[in-house]
Symmetry: C2
Amino acid sequence: MEQTTRSKIIGAADALFYEHGLRSVSVDAIAERAGVTKRTLYYHFESKDALIAAYLAARDRPTVERYRDWLGDDGRPLPDRIVAMFAALASFAERPKWRGCGFTRAAVELAGQPGHPAVVMAADHKARFENWLAGELANGGVADAAAVGRQVMILLEGAIALMLVHRDTSYAVAAGEAAAALVSSALPETSTRAVEAVS
Amino acid sequence: MEQTTRSKIIGAADALFYEHGLRSVSVDAIAERAGVTKRTLYYHFESKDALIAAYLAARDRPTVERYRDWLGDDGRPLPDRIVAMFAALASFAERPKWRGCGFTRAAVELAGQPGHPAVVMAADHKARFENWLAGELANGGVADAAAVGRQVMILLEGAIALMLVHRDTSYAVAAGEAAAALVSSALPETSTRAVEAVS
DNA sequence: GTCTATACACAGATAGAC
DNA sequence: GTCTATCTGTGTATAGAC
């Protein structure tokens, strides 16, 4: 079955690329971890760049699903759900193998090659994620959901970067409080009180 | 003068490391750009890793000074100064050669090697920057300046990451508005009303 | 589709003359 | 302090058998 071999290779690429980065991981290492030879790998993927693109493509859906779970269902007050999402991220980042966002890291490592497929995929992933976030806020009754969604997105991204640099997951909690304050301010009734409560 | 040769090498390293990243730039390329041979480079620096560390060390002060300029002097209302800082960042990021924060990018690219000197330097730089930011907020009368400073720091970091991914500098403006809102909420009532009266 | 074996370029780092 | 020349490992990718 070609499917099995291909997915084994992508699984090995995911483990190594995410842990060590793109350029520092060799095709040999991926092939070895996947339990195939390099020649087999090149039968399934045209080049290392193609494998990088496949690695990110496989990460797209699980990443979005994870945040969807963290945000939870409609029902609770929106600021609480936002805080919960950031708290879950903080908990997730406690894991020793956590290394930040694979998409952002790929875009950063390939910042010198703006046309690279992986960079394009990262931008697309982030745009769709921001769009989803804005939609959730709009459903929750937030005024100007696009603008607030973008601010929450920025807080998410910044928290991930600083958690990676400092290995301190409290940044996600701090970001969650800020996000909840901004969201509360954009909700119809409780705006002023909620912001002051956080500060 | 040894100083001249050494600084020429660091200058070449800065240009290439910042533009293309760490691993994708060879020592040969840096030596060539500096106008020296590889052997001379290795006379001044023990290894490529040492050169990377020197590259970041040289970037530390100019980076902080730039933000200090952008925030401006005491006198204007603090939220206005915050907005101005983010606006200046947006303008700075318009330049074609802009590639985000060299410290964060180094930490991201070396995320697989937590003990690497460059990672340690990046964390130290970010910690001192956050400290400076909190100090400025405290001087401006912000309550709980440490917590708000951290939130502003997260917004800064997130805006830089997303500007790099999307090549859209409006993220810094959006982050600046969020930061100003959070700062305003942490100011005494009198200061907040003074801001509104001026604008 | 998967293997063994290998081509070819380039990486980081060093030897030793001057 | 700077040079020419080189060592040695590793990188991506390919040839051709089975």
